[in-house]
């Protein structure tokens, strides 16, 4: 196995690399950051800036409130709130007494919120007052769950507690692209390892200015955006409404953005349309993941002086499994697997083991039985790793197309080749009527710039070239040029089962 720590060390100066250290728990990491960066701004939300020391004071009061309510280490406490300072304070209060935060996405309705709280035995729930109606069932049914809204404030401060590395810290719901919703239980050491991994491969990573547009109930938002920010003594600006993101980026002047590819693409297109860099001149780094990152994005952003780092991760691995520190050399790779992750490739599927991997799916024995084997978590992602240790995602296990001939086709592997056509924004390969179909969503600004009149014949010519590089059973038979976007998940992934001819 390649020592990727040595590789990542080459992308950061020694002083910075020495600061990328392990912590036992969210509690220990948070206490360290408060001690090292007390006067640094920690969070900016709705015009209010709060330093690490000030935030700790407010968190200490919420800790006191939870302890007074009898919440103990290992108890589950829900958070049902949009991205906000309130969310951050609640998360830190819960985890720094050793309780476990159950993150409830705000789109859940009152029946589901009630059902989750009952099913998992939640002891208390922090909720945003704008969602008050959706906690009404908990109130009406008079169940024994302590409810705290934004105005909740303890009377006495309580110190952060020492928390065991293996104790649970966070439950994040994940559905993947096809599966049913499951709650991944992540330990303290898992989320902290995830936050630590986010520091690798980037030259300027400590005491930065980050900008949050992703939901904190999503692993990418929670770990790479919030926890990596707190880990590094950085300031995190919370953008409450994505429509204001460019105005607020201009005001806050972040150095680092954490974006899904659809938002990175949008910022690029609007910059071209309005002939100015919508991200301004402060942004130097974009961390991009949670869906397939089209290779052209890194090249296009480089023209603006911004380095876009593609990465790969899963909710079940506390987000970060690999990161690509050399996107301009090879933008098709999701990079090197982070240090400390033991992995093997079994029938092309990536299996991982390490302290960043979840303990289990909460209350879902059936899923747990099939998720692990020999102590490894089976990611379901089909990969290739080259001799340098660079990881390439070639498909999802469930996405294998088994042809009537018995031959297997990995659609993502073919799609990666199609993405190299500069006029392709997104694409999808699937089988229909015993041949492979390719649906393409064009990148219109390139189509216009190249003055392409007949898109169908343009793609037929380009795909014919790619077909020559493919095995006969992998070749595209039909091309459909889409005039509308694909059906996507909330994380903007293309939902395979809901697109294409069926």
């Amino acid at each position: 196995m390649i020592d990727t720590e040595k590789i990542f060390k080459g992308f950061t100066d020694e002083q910075t690399f020495a600061k990328i250290i392990d912590f036992d728990s969210v509690s220990q990491m948070w206490q360290n950051s408060v001690s090292l960066y007390p006067e640094n701004v920690a969070i900016v939300d709705e015009g209010c800036s709060i330093t690490y020391a000030e935030l700790e004071n407010e968190v200490a009061l919420l800790r006191g409130l939870l302890l007074k309510q009898g919440v103990k280490q290992g108890d589950l406490v829900g958070i049902y709130a949009p991205n906000s300072l309130f969310f951050v304070k609640s998360y830190l209060a819960i985890t720094t007494i050793g309780a476990c935060a159950l993150l409830l996405p705000t789109h859940l309705d009152k029946t589901v919120v009630f059902g989750c709280c009952m099913k998992f035995g939640v002891k208390a729930l922090f909720y945003d007052e704008s969602l008050k109606d959706n906690v009404s069932l908990i109130v009406d049914q008079k169940v024994n769950i302590a409810l705290f809204d934004n105005n909740a404030k303890g009377e006495e401060k309580a110190m952060a507690l020492s928390v065991a590395p293996a104790s649970p810290s966070t439950v994040i719901f994940t559905g993947g692209t096809t599966g049913k919703s499951k709650g991944a239980l992540l330990s303290n050491q898992a989320v902290i390892r995830g936050a630590k991994n986010g520091c690798y491969g980037i030259k300027e990573v400590f005491e930065q200015k980050l900008f949050l547009v992703l939901p904190l109930t999503h692993v990418f938002g929670l770990i790479r955006n919030l926890l990596s920010s707190l880990y590094t003594g950085s300031a995190l600006y919370i953008c409450r409404n994505n429509k204001n993101m460019f105005k607020e980026i201009a005001e806050f002047r972040p150095t680092t953005l954490v974006l899904v590819p659809a938002l990175a693409e949008m910022a690029l297109n609007l910059s071209k349309q309005f002939k100015r860099n919508m991200l301004g001149d402060s942004v130097k780094t974009i961390i991009c993941g949670a869906a397939t990152v089209a290779p052209y994005l890194a090249k296009e952003y480089d023209k603006f002086g911004i380095t876009l780092f593609p990465g790969y991760g899963l909710t079940e691995s506390a987000n970060l499994v690999s990161g690509n520190p050399i996107p301009l050399e090879d933008a098709t790779s999701v990079g090197f697997i982070y240090p400390g992750i033991d992995y093997k490739v079994v029938d092309d599927e990536l299996w991982i083991k390490g302290i960043n991997v979840m303990d289990k799916y909460l209350g879902d024995d059936e899923e747990n039985d099939s998720a692990f084997e020999d102590g490894y978590f089976k990611t379901g992602d089909l990969v290739k790793i080259n001799e340098d240790g660079m990881l390439y995602i070639i498909g999802r296990k469930k996405e294998i197309i088994v042809l009537s001939s018995g031959e297997n086709v990995y659609p993502a592997e073919i799609e990666n080749k199609i993405y190299e056509i500069d006029t392709v924004q997104d694409c999808l390969v699937y089988e229909y009527g015993q041949q492979l179909y390719l649906e393409i969503l064009p990148r219109m600004e390139v189509v216009k710039a190249l003055a392409i009149e007949n898109l169908q014949s343009h793609y037929e010519e380009r795909v014919a070239e790619i077909n020559k590089t493919l095995a006969p059973h992998e070749r595209i038979g039909k091309i459909i040029v889409r005039d509308t976007d694909f059906v996507r998940s909330p994380a903007m992934k293309i939902l395979r089962g809901k697109n294409g001819k069926r």
Binding site: N242, K243, F246, A262, L263, M266, N269, L270, Q273, F274, Q425, I440, L441, P442, R443, M444, V447, L455, V481, R482, D483, T484, D485, R488, M492
Partner: protein, 84 residues
């Protein structure tokens, strides 16, 4: 701003948001076209339109939620009022 002028500028924004074959979709576009079911705007498409409108017309949606607008005509009405 005159309604026809607003409509023309809104069309430019919709072209960007709709991307491929925007011309074809917008060929039959009228004030009564539904933003989602007729034009096929998804959440990112709507974000494009909102940001584009604010940028081009120098207006802010403030407390208005774009989800309140059902048709192209609703959006034009709002811009017309805000640019008087």
């Amino acid at each position: 701003m005159e309604r026809d002028n607003i409509r023309a500028k809104l069309r430019e924004i919709l072209e960007l948001a709709l991307g491929a074959k925007a011309q074809e979709i917008l060929k039959n576009c009228s004030d009564s076209s539904d933003l989602v079911s007729d034009l096929g705007l998804n959440s990112v498409g709507i974000l494009y339109v909102v940001i584009g409108i604010e940028e081009i017309f120098s207006i802010s949606f403030e407390n208005a939620c774009f989800g309140d607008f059902k048709t192209v005509g609703d959006v034009i009405d709002y811009i017309e009022k805000k640019t008087v």
